[in-house]
């Protein structure tokens, strides 16, 4: 498939799912009437459902999915390994931990931006910690092990903090943070995450060529004018921005960063640079689809969207490990 055709069809898919996500719900929404009322009678119930409930949810799914797909593609390109992703190497759990600290202990009252900013800091610290633990020229196994350790630490700290939080409901929200959830967010949440996400995207999309050069190894890339350690920090910071802002709003939605780049890689002829925009679109499509999916599953209590992505993603991860093992035999 031609690269342009691929991007076009992915964009169309995202657009289609975006519209579908506005229409689909537990109860049907007369979409034309609602859309009409958005412009005529802004306070009508249908207009409110469309603009204040479904639109922010859909926009946040779009941003978060694209961030996770893009972050996964960037991380895999940086490490030259298909088993890497921001949630496996601690970026997400670090962000979630700091978001929990800010949200549940009243720090958000200091400033609205405290939430994404602290999540970014947490993401950066956790990522850097994993890389420091694993060492500079670590194998992917060491990196994933370091990631497991940092993830476990962050999750247990989160659990402890939610236990200590003043709100009696805090502890029950551990699942929401560890599995990820995008129900009942508002446009305020969307506007809060948007600028940081866009900065992160721009930083990541700009390193396509350098990631391509890394295909030849760090030294050859350096001879081509790429500064590998600068690229590494740029991607860490970009992931901190985008993933931090996303996790602060949605919790840790797993496996999109792992699965999407892997599925799309053959379609871009394995080129890490071209994979970036494709994975962003693919991630957005996957999260939108998963979010539509959880709304269609008829259960009493709503299923968290992260549960669905993990149900699909975890077996896929196992398959990757098995295939990786076969290749090394």
């Amino acid at each position: 498939m031609k690269y342009r055709t691929l991007l076009m069809s992915l964009s169309l898919l995202v657009f289609g799912l975006f519209c579908l996500s506005l229409v689909v719900g537990r109860d049907p929404l007369p979409i034309w009437q609602a859309a009409n009322e958005v412009f005529t009678d802004h306070s009508s119930v249908f207009a409110i459902i469309l603009t204040e409930i479904r639109l922010p949810r859909t926009l946040i799914a779009l941003l978060a999915g694209a961030t996770l797909g893009l972050g996964g593609a960037a991380m895999q390109g940086l490490l030259r390994n298909p088993l890497a992703s921001p949630d496996l190497i601690g970026s997400s759990s670090g962000a979630a931990l700091c978001a929990v600290i800010v949200l549940y202990f009243g720090w958000q009252n200091v400033s609205l931006q405290m939430l994404p900013l602290s999540a970014m800091l947490g993401s950066l610290v956790a990522t850097a910690l994993v890389f420091a633990l694993a060492g500079r020229d670590a194998s992917i196994t060491t990196l994933i092990l370091a990631g497991v350790a940092v993830n476990a630490l962050a999750t247990s700290a989160m659990s402890l903090l939610l236990n200590l939080a003043p709100s009696p409901y805090a502890m029950r929200e551990l699942v929401l943070w560890t599995m990820g959830d995008i129900t009942d967010r508002s446009m305020d949440d969307f506007w809060l995450m948007l600028p940081f996400t866009l900065i992160g995207w721009a930083l990541m999309l700009g390193v396509g060529k350098q990631l391509n050069a890394l295909t030849l190894g760090e030294e050859t890339a350096a001879s081509l004018g790429v500064n590998p350690s600068w690229i590494r920090w740029r991607i860490f910071i970009a992931i901190a921005f985008a993933v931090g802002a996303t996790v602060a709003t949605t919790g840790m939605i797993g496996f999109i960063g792992l699965v999407v780049p892997h599925l799309l890689r053959p379609l871009v002829n394995y080129e890490p640079g071209r994979l970036l925009p494709a994975a962003a679109l693919g991630g957005a499509a996957m999260l939108l689809a998963a979010d539509i999916g959880v709304r269609l599953i008829p259960t009493d209590a709503a299923i968290k969207v992260g549960v669905l992505t993990a149900l699909v993603g975890a077996p896929f991860f196992l398959y990757l490990i098995l295939r990786n093992r076969k290749e090394h035999l």
Partner: protein, 260 residues
Amino acid sequence: MSLLVATGISFKRKQQLLLQDVQLELKAGELLGLIGPNGAGKSTLLKILAGLQKPTSGSVQFQAQALHKLSTQERSQKLAWLAQGGMIHWPLTVERLVALGRLPHLAAWQQANAKDQAAIDQAIQQNGIEQLRHRDATTLSGGERTRVLLARALAAEPTVLLADEPIAALDPGYQLQTLELLRQFAQGERACIVVLHELSLAARYCDRLYLLKSGCIVDTGSAATVLSSENLKNVYHIECEIGCTSVPWIIPSRFINDQN
């Protein structure tokens, strides 16, 4: 005209002196051979010359300008470095892999233009890998792979090519073909330094040789002077049959065990 001049290069890593007071000069139009036993510091020297590593002391001048003062982009446009072995992490197509050589000529968000494509096509043609153009680069044979990576280095249209053992693991046919290509490249304004273990081929193709041992230049000059039996005995601990038709040829005959 001197393209690349290294003066007093020393390099220390973990208290170990890998290079010691190395002097080297590369003139335009020259194909320079860097020879010496394993661990002599040839690859380190080549990386320092390419600006990939900073010498502990000493300096490298490129066209009478300090190498470290050149911008990264300028340096990567002028100096191409071909890694030893050369890994390819993703199964890119050969054409896209060669295209990576154009990176130093592209600005941040710039796409490859016709001029870049011409350079890529030329590099593919020169290396005779036209038929591989759409192949997966990770499935190539050793010889094909070497030529593809060389084409990648040449696609950058560099002034100086620094090639680290480009003909190791190649059959004699490919060895000759590759060295012919380097010879052809090192003409006019351009020049090439190549690390070699094949002494006879070094003698045949290189204008001058530098013989390295334990981080020091032992001898330099034409093949006939450098590849003396005394030098070879001293550096490689071998006795050789050295003959001469138009250029010297060397057949190692016995390893000298120092301990005895």
